[in-house]
């Protein structure tokens, strides 16, 4: 069964990321972006009959959707948490569309974000109940640096197999920073050069500080609605045209080839459902927790040959003025990563560009966007094609 044009994203809302969580609560952030997204969609609170939530990374609590429903005083008949790490937002889009197509509901509010900062994010997690995970028994004793060391291992192997260079990886951060210069909401907007990236401190070889996403505070929400509701909204509907999802294990030692991600499965599914190819895409809006993530994503989604991602990002201008616009909001590397709302930023930016309200960085003719959500150590992948 196809989800093509089964539902559209109409309303979006996104808080400008902040480095500090001072004075903010996760629930307060969620309520604020929820209200704005419902207003943006032109709906009444009583019309929201579905609620999907991406859980905060630093605050593991049971029954988040019920807590948020209570706070918003809405009473959805379809409520769930989508726990796919950074792929949660893209995963929420097609799950909402699927629920709408099945007749469960007509308007699904999707919420993400958290009050967090670098100190909270990297605080020791000894009290977390992770003792039973194989990851805890067979990886943690050797001192991994969270996701950082996993992506560094992918980058190191990619360099070995394909000759990818540090300069090529750095180019991703540089072009995205140019994009952030045209986004007043981005956390980091000062221009950056390849040499700046390569002379920033090495954190986990071969990745430098400016190639690693910054945990911060923020939040984002969007509303996915049925075709009949989409027609009555002031905003241009951003239709779901294609979706695909694929997952693998979280521990890299369990993965056959770490340089190829499950995007090699999820993206073709999304393109096939939409009936388009990578060549047709006007905006690439893909998860960028690290520079290497973008290179592997471009390869596995079919924008270039496997292993050619390094030369490919060097040969193309990834800015909003360029021949291959990618992460025009600056990507999470420059916009910031407010928990799982970092993944949502790729959805909201695609919607903005399709609706023609991306301001200074608006692309001239944006009709088709490819969105990719990536979770864990490239272990969860949710790919979307959105269009007008």
């Amino acid at each position: 069964m196809s989800l093509k044009r089964a539902a559209a994203i109409t309303g979006i809302a996104e808080m400008a990321p902040r480095a500090s969580a001072e004075g903010l609560s996760t629930m307060g952030i969620w309520a604020d972006v929820s209200r704005k997204a419902i207003l943006d969609a032109g709906l009444e609170p009583s019309e929201i009959d579905g609620l999907l939530v991406a859980p905060p990374i630093v605050d593991m609590v049971a029954m988040w959707p019920s807590h948020l429903g209570e706070y918003l005083d809405i009473h959805p008949r379809y409520a769930n948490i989508v726990d796919l790490g950074g792929a949660s937002a893209a995963g929420m889009v097609w799950r909402a569309a699927s629920a709408i197509q099945s007749g469960l509901c007509r308007a699904v509010l999707c919420v993400s974000g958290e009050a967090s900062d670098v100190d909270t994010f990297y605080a020791p997690r000894a009290k977390r109940p992770t003792q039973q995970l194989p990851l805890r028994e067979f990886e943690a004793p050797y001192g991994p640096m969270g996701a950082n060391s996993g992506y560094a291992q992918i980058a190191m192997r990619h360099m070995h197999e394909f000759g990818t260079t540090g300069r090529q990886l750095a180019k991703v951060a540089v072009d995205q920073r140019t994009n952030a210069g045209a986004n007043p909401d981005a956390l980091y907007r000062d221009p950056l050069t390849v040499d700046d990236v390569l002379s920033s401190p090495l954190i986990v070889d071969p990745l430098h500080l400016y190639e690693i996403v910054q945990p911060c505070t923020g939040g984002a929400a969007f509303v996915v609605v049925s075709a009949d509701l989409a027609g009555s909204n002031a905003q241009t509907p951003a239709w779901l045209l294609g979706a695909g999802e694929a997952t693998r294990g979280v521990m890299l030692a369990q993965v056959k080839s770490i340089t190829t991600s499950p995007i090699a499965q999820s993206a073709p599914l999304a393109f096939e459902m939409a009936g388009v190819t990578p060549d047709d895409i006007d905006l690439i809006s893909v998860y960028d927790c690290y520079t290497i993530t973008v290179v592997v994503t471009l390869e596995d989604a079919g924008f270039c040959e496997k292993g050619r991602g390094g030369p490919f990002v060097e040969e193309h201008d990834l800015t909003y003025r360029g021949d291959l616009p990618l992460n025009t909001h600056g990507g999470q590397l420059s916009f910031g990563q407010p928990g799982l709302a970092g993944g949502t930023s790729h959805v909201t930016e695609a919607v903005r560009q399709l609706q023609g309200r991306a301001g200074e960085r608006q692309l001239p003719d944006c009709e088709l966007a490819f969105v990719n959500g990536n979770g864990g150590i490239m272990s969860e992948q949710s790919s979307l094609v959105l269009g007008v």
Binding site: Q131, E137, P141, D205
Partner: protein, 136 residues
């Protein structure tokens, strides 16, 4: 001092205990499927390839090569901070399975992808031996 950060050590289950017992005795013991000959790591109650429960703990060579690695220059867990820079790697054993590990016994700068390595057993004060590797 009780408030010093301590490194997270494995808490073996009855399922994984033979693996840790092997390391304490100075060898790598892995589950091997009697039915399809596949090595199974980490320890599981059955062979994920053929669903057989007939797994036999089998000692392997301890030889392997570096599949990939990184040099950690800022520790996430404070107990590892005194060790930086250190090598956090994935080693592919000669017999096939890959393990998360540290490469020790050489400078981090001298580690290479595909470098041959051999097992060393790092006995912690808690009686658990960790599986690490050094250049072969």
């Amino acid at each position: 001092m009780s408030d010093q950060p301590r490194k997270p050590l494995p808490k073996p289950s009855s399922l994984s205990q033979p693996f840790w017992d092997g390391l304490a005795a100075g060898e790598i013991r892995l589950q091997k499927c009697d039915r399809c000959d596949t090595y199974v790591f980490y320890p599981r109650p059955y062979c994920p390839h053929c669903l057989s429960e007939a797994l036999t703990w089998t000692a392997v060579s301890g030889r392997g090569r570096v599949y990939t690695y990184t040099v950690v220059r800022r520790a996430m867990h404070p107990a590892f901070q005194p060790d930086v820079p250190y090598v956090f790697a994935i080693v592919e054993l000669e017999e096939g399975p890959r393990v998360e590990t540290n490469v020790v016994g050489c400078a981090p700068e001298d580690v290479r992808v595909e470098m041959p390595v051999k097992a060393v057993y790092d006995r912690t004060t808690a009686g658990i031996a960790l599986l690490k590797f050094e250049p072969a």
